[in-house]
């Protein structure tokens, strides 16, 4: 007799549907599993029921799509799963009980996690972000319940201050101090704003948190609202994060339905509601005064501070603006206590920090580490070192406001103070690893291209100054650098830093200054010798064929798109420098390494 579904054992297939997971085909993988199961159901009766769980970013984006098969107490993780592999996993693992070895996660997954400490990301990747119950089951919304029944707003602020948490958006301002200033500010109405306008190139911490655990951000905002005396909150989120926006909308709708948002929450007289404001893709709107202008319907341009938003913010009212990661930390601090939080990290930099690890590193992905971990540990232990065994050159922290940290400073602990001392900043958490083939002048140029284009245009040093910086960098990379350019760069950088209106301009020269500090010789090589030591600047490369090695096979000749290579078969070929467009096609195709690039 057929077993009823209720009595059958449950098997859970957990699939990552963060943006990385989605891009790698997460949704298709779930569909493939469903189809495979229903196909098998036609012929045989299965002794289990299969449940599907969509989860947020698991961090190990390099091996997406990640799939967990949870059967009772045992959980098996697969990596790099495509829809066509689903059928095999269903047949061999789910039905026959033999995990498919060749797709099992390898050791790097474990070393990737070895030195991490997951607080925020613990639930991100295990719970269904589209289900409020999933968050409640892991302790969600107990923080807000706890404070509403047992703590005054002042108690909450004291707790947050005691925890030592500092703003995760980049500046590292103590969160409790900000809340206290807003609490004390005069105003009939106050606001809490969540800054989810994450715009640094290569950064995706905030997106992953919202995609993977949106309710933690909502609960953090509620606690902040209670502490400062706000009844309404805004999430300012960039429209380029469609999955995050959808999940946040769903989370807010579910919170409304289940009485987690609205009037008189949890039997108290505390009311809180939440609105979403979509950003239109301006990096500068991550600057808090520009963000306020944008919510108010104005062009996103910063204004001079003071007055600070805690005194005059949104609609002229006292406003606290906190970053996603900061707010997401709050429920955990309230749940576990300030002393638990302050036990993590160093003396002045508490807690954990989420980083988006990208660039020339083996294990790219999202990581969470305790403050105070050394940069080298992140790069070699968690990141698994450089791809292709190339030489490490630098790690870029803090995006366009940050700087590059070279090899000899990899012992630097990741704390606000220590990183600033190197000339970079912790920033919001973008960490781009560079190897020996990256030209540092070119890296500085890349970031300047970004800030220059994203300057709001209001103040002269940022609008025209960054443009001139970029032009100088551009001519250096094209071999047109002049004697005195380095000094001019330094002078202009220092003036832009001092004279610019907002944080964007004040930090825009950092990528130039930090590369000049540690890689001045690369600038000099470009200007004086007209050489790019990393062989990355196309205009400075000269391609030639080493006649004694060339076999005259003609492969390079066929590959050259400019018709610059000539030569008879089986005789050494030649490159006509006037026609050569320095694309490197000949260099890449030659099997005998007879193409010389310098």
């Amino acid at each position: 007799m057929a077993q009823s579904d209720e009595t059958k054992k449950k098997v859970v297939v957990r699939v990552c549907i963060g943006t990385g997971g989605l891009a790698a085909g997460g949704k298709e993988v779930i569909e493939a599993f469903k189809k495979a199961i229903s196909d098998f159901c036609v012929d045989i009766e299965l002794d289990f029921t299969c449940h599907y769980q969509k989860v947020g970013c698991r961090g190990f984006c390099a091996r997406d799509v990640l799939v967990d098969v949870v059967d009772g107490d045992t959980s098996v993780t697969y990596q790099g799963i495509k829809p066509d592999i689903a059928k095999r996993i269903v047949q061999e693992h789910l039905i026959n009980g033999q995990p498919v070895k060749e797709w099992l996660i390898d050791d790097s997954y474990y070393s990737f996690h070895s030195k991490q400490m997951k607080v925020l990301l613990k639930d991100c990747g295990t719970i269904d972000p589209e289900d409020i119950q999933a968050y409640s089951k892991v302790g969600g919304y107990t923080g807000i319940r706890k404070i509403l029944s047992t703590m005054t707003p002042e108690d909450v602020i004291a707790e947050i201050k005691a925890s030592g948490i500092r703003g995760r958006g980049g500046a590292g301002f103590p969160t409790g101090v900000k809340w206290e200033a807003c609490r004390k500010a005069q105003g009939d109405v106050k606001y809490i704003v969540c800054n989810a306008d994450e715009g640094d190139p290569g950064a995706f911490m905030d997106r992953s948190i919202i995609e993977g655990n949106p309710h933690s951000v909502i609960e953090g905002m509620m606690i902040a609202a209670y502490a400062i005396g706000a009844g309404l909150g805004y999430v300012y989120i960039r429209a380029e994060y469609p999955a995050a926006v959808e999940r946040l909308k769903l989370a807010i709708a579910q919170a409304h339905e289940t009485g987690h948002l609205g009037k008189g929450l949890f039997g108290s007289d505390f009311s809180f509601d939440l609105r979403i404001k979509l950003g239109a893709g301006a990096f500068v709107c991550g600057e808090e005064t520009a963000l306020i202008a944008s919510i108010e319907g104005e062009r996103g341009m910063p204004r001079a501070k003071p007055p600070f938003p805690v005194h005059r913010g949104l609609w002229g009212r006292p406003t606290v603006i906190n970053n996603v990661e900061t707010l997401s930390n709050i429920p955990y601090i309230i749940r576990n206590g300030a002393s638990w939080y302050s036990s993590i990290g160093t003396d002045k930099s508490k807690g954990t920090k989420v980083f988006a690890l990208t660039g020339k590193i083996r294990n790219t992905g999202l990581i969470e580490v305790p403050m105070g971990i050394r940069l080298g540990e992140i790069i070699y232990d968690i990141g698994g070192g450089i791809i292709g065994d190339k030489k490490f050159k630098a790690v870029q922290l803090g995006g366009p406001s940050g700087g590059c940290i070279p090899d000899h400073l990899l012992d630097t602990p990741v704390t606000y103070e220590d990183i600033v001392r190197t000339g970079a900043i912790v920033g919001s958490g973008g960490m781009v690893v560079l190897d020996e083939t990256d030209c540092m002048v070119n890296i500085a140029k890349f970031f300047l291209e970004f800030t220059q284009a994203e300057s709001c245009g209001k103040c002269v040093p940022c609008r025209i100054g960054t443009k001139r910086l970029l032009e100088i960098l551009d001519r250096i990379t094209r071999g047109l650098g002049k004697e005195g350019d380095i000094e001019l760069l330094e002078a202009l950088c220092s003036d832009i830093k001092v004279a610019s209106l907002c944080g964007l301009g004040q930090t825009a020269p950092n990528p130039v200054l930090s590369t000049l500090k540690y890689f001045r010789h690369e600038y000099e090589a470009h200007i004086k010798d007209k050489k790019c030591p990393a062989k990355a600047c196309k205009d400075l490369l000269i391609y030639s064929i080493l006649e004694d090695i060339c076999k005259g096979c003609g492969v390079c000749k066929r590959a050259c798109p400019a018709g610059a290579i000539s030569g008879d078969k089986k005789k050494p070929h030649k490159i006509n420098a006037d026609l050569c467009i320095r694309c490197g096609a000949c260099f890449d195709v030659c099997k005998f390494n007879s193409v010389n690039r310098e």
Binding site: V460, A491, A499
Partner: protein
């Protein structure tokens, strides 16, 4: 009142005064380009940076409120070097065609470049170029000379309440333009022209009619309406080539399109200077006495023959209240009819 120290001088200013206003009140000069006393502070040009004891970095004096006990330094080698850099940067993206610019001699940017002695510029590179000329009839918009101080945007929004122009695009490509970059199609009050510190905004009719140094300024009252705004006619030879208004007048320097741009009639050959009376189908010049007698006689004839209600009076918004009052009194009391109205009702 607040007491603060600027460049070693102790000053006393009312609460809410900015550091810039406090300094200017006591004739301490701080250079500015984007600041306008009647508009909200912008803080964009960065020329008015000052050092304040206890604040680690220079701040813009136009946006910083004066506070009790503040110690401000408005000039130092460091500040002057920053200001010079800012000016060099602006000039590196400017046509620098002062030789043929309408505003030469009346341009804040030119003044500052002179004051800071910027002959050689450390910076050069791409300049913004705009090929399209704005087709509107009144305002010449030479946007290559625009320094994006935002004064025109603010005056249009804060004073006129029109908001016909705003910032568009980002970074070096930022520009000020009407919606969708169409030709300016506003009420053409020209307040934007009045507040522009460079030659970016000028009157189309001003072109090559004379530079500021050559004009004689004649103060008068606008005759276009009962408001009676103060005008300053810029006269070269015997011709009005431009109209502006002083800030210390009743209208605070603001004008409308008529007052600012409607001065062509003054030197028009078609302008009526004497009354004309039509005789045998032809208009002939007459003295005011003859003309008034003629009008009075005809009004009397009509009233006697057809009664007062055969006459109606229509008055003008160009008249003052007093004139309009007298006119209705004349129609009602002298002619004897209530048939009186005013063009502003239509």
């Amino acid at each position: 009142m607040i007491k603060l120290m600027i460049d070693g001088k102790t000053l006393s200013v009312p609460d809410g005064t900015t550091v810039l206003d406090a300094a200017r009140r006591f004739h301490i000069n701080i250079p500015t380009l984007c600041h306008h006393p009647k508009l909200t502070p912008f803080g964009g040009c960065r020329l008015c940076l000052v050092e304040i004891k206890g604040i680690p970095r220079p701040v813009t004096s136009c946006t910083t409120p004066a506070a009790e006990g503040m110690e401000v330094t408005t000039t130092s080698p460091n500040l002057e070097s920053l200001r010079k850099t800012v000016l060099e940067l602006i000039l590196s993206d400017h046509p620098n065609d002062c030789m043929i610019c309408e505003r030469a001699g009346d341009c804040t940017l030119q003044e500052l470049a002179y004051f800071y002695g910027i002959r050689k510029n450390r910076f050069s590179g791409e300049r913004r170029t705009y090929s399209k000329r704005d087709g509107n009839p009144f305002i010449e918009r030479d946007m290559e000379k625009c320094i994006l101080c935002g004064r025109c945007v603010k005056v249009c929004d804060e004073v006129e309440g029109v908001a016909a122009i705003d910032f568009a695009y980002r970074g070096f490509k930022s520009k000020i333009c009407p919606p969708y970059e169409k030709d300016l199609n506003c009420e053409f009050c020209g307040q934007c022209v009045a507040v522009c510190p460079t030659g970016a905004l000028t009157g189309k009719a001003w072109k090559q009619r004379g530079r500021q140094k050559d004009v004689r300024e004649v103060d008068t009252t606008c005759a276009y309406c009962g408001c009676g705004c103060s005008l300053t006619l810029h006269v070269q030879g015997n011709e009005v080539i431009r109209v502006t208004s002083r800030e210390d007048t009743l209208n605070e320097g603001w004008l409308c399109v008529k007052g600012r741009f409607g001065y062509n009639f003054i030197n028009s050959p078609e302008r009526l200077k004497k009354p004309l009376i039509r005789k045998d189908g032809k208009l002939e010049e007459a003295s005011w006495e003859t003309a008034l007698d003629y009008v009075a006689g005809r009004l009397k004839d009509v009233r006697d023959k057809y009664g007062p209600n055969a006459i109606a009076g229509l008055s003008s918004a160009r008249c003052t209240n007093e004139e309009n009052y007298l006119f209705q009194k004349f129609i009602r009391g002298v002619i004897g009819t209530n048939n009186v109205d005013h063009c502003a009702r239509y």
